[in-house]
Symmetry: C2
Subunit: 202 residues, 2 copies
Amino acid sequence: MDATMTGEDKAPRTERGRRTLRALLDAARAEFGEKGFHDSSVVSITSRAGVALGSFYTYFDSKESLFRALVKDMSGQVRDYVAPVLPGDGDQIDAEGRALSAFLSFARQHKEIYRIIDEAEFVAPDAWQAHYGTTVDRIFERLKAAEARGEIAGPVDEAHAWAIMGMNVFLGLRYGVLGEERAVGEITDVVNAMLRDGLTKR
Amino acid sequence: MDATMTGEDKAPRTERGRRTLRALLDAARAEFGEKGFHDSSVVSITSRAGVALGSFYTYFDSKESLFRALVKDMSGQVRDYVAPVLPGDGDQIDAEGRALSAFLSFARQHKEIYRIIDEAEFVAPDAWQAHYGTTVDRIFERLKAAEARGEIAGPVDEAHAWAIMGMNVFLGLRYGVLGEERAVGEITDVVNAMLRDGLTKR
């Protein structure tokens, strides 16, 4: 065994174990992203990862449990990619613009995220709901904090957070995955101006 | 045969044929919505529809072609449900608010639409892209017309339309499918105020 496991989630305790787990998740991202869940196989994923088939079961019970872990992992990667750009100049609306820019860049570099998260609705609905649930909670908390600081008009509502998440998801689909013909900054400027001042002609 | 068919799309020419086709599409919506594509069967769908199995193949080549037709049909139903509320008092932002209200009501009455459209990404990607492509085109055309009438600030950008579509899709998921605890009008008021004036504190 590569590592001593801790309880249900089989989290590795050694550096070597963590590297093996990372290799399996990266191989799973490539395999599920290319072939989808049903046409992917554990044998092929372990082969991509350079990990023995027997070792796989040290980490995961099944292809389903690997897929579920991958969704959680990718959700965390998005969060970790966006988090560092949130602090910075300007107000929270500027920060939301930076978050969108970072997300579009992430989607361009990881186009497979859409296929994987979208397929999770069917293959791992709990992980799918957790991804959107934690994402919307983060946006909602940021907006409430900005309202408390007097940076945006209240009352902030959960529906604002769902609206912003939906915008970002579809902009990432269109300008991250489906086509890269326009600069990320151009898209962000257009959408962020709408978020700041609305569409009203002044 | 129930009807004389016309070319590739097998569109029925008789009233009886149209009723049979409608019964198949409605049964397909219920079956695919409950069980998903893979666990649904043509036999079960024809049985729900009260249509002979042999007749099915008068209309569709396969379960896949029925699914594709269903996505197109549901996409058209959304369009037809929303279209009548677009003309009315106020400006285009008011109209977009009415469109969102209508869409949320539609989603509450047809919760299966999410599972079906979302699964189309994998089962019928052409129909999935066509659904979002035509939806975003309609929003973009409405915004450009409103800009020409001087109702909203320009320049209107395709990204505005993708942002609004994304907002509406996720609001429909949250307040149409996942929970109905809040009034449609309350959600629409919150989101439409953001679309009108942005989040800036004035």
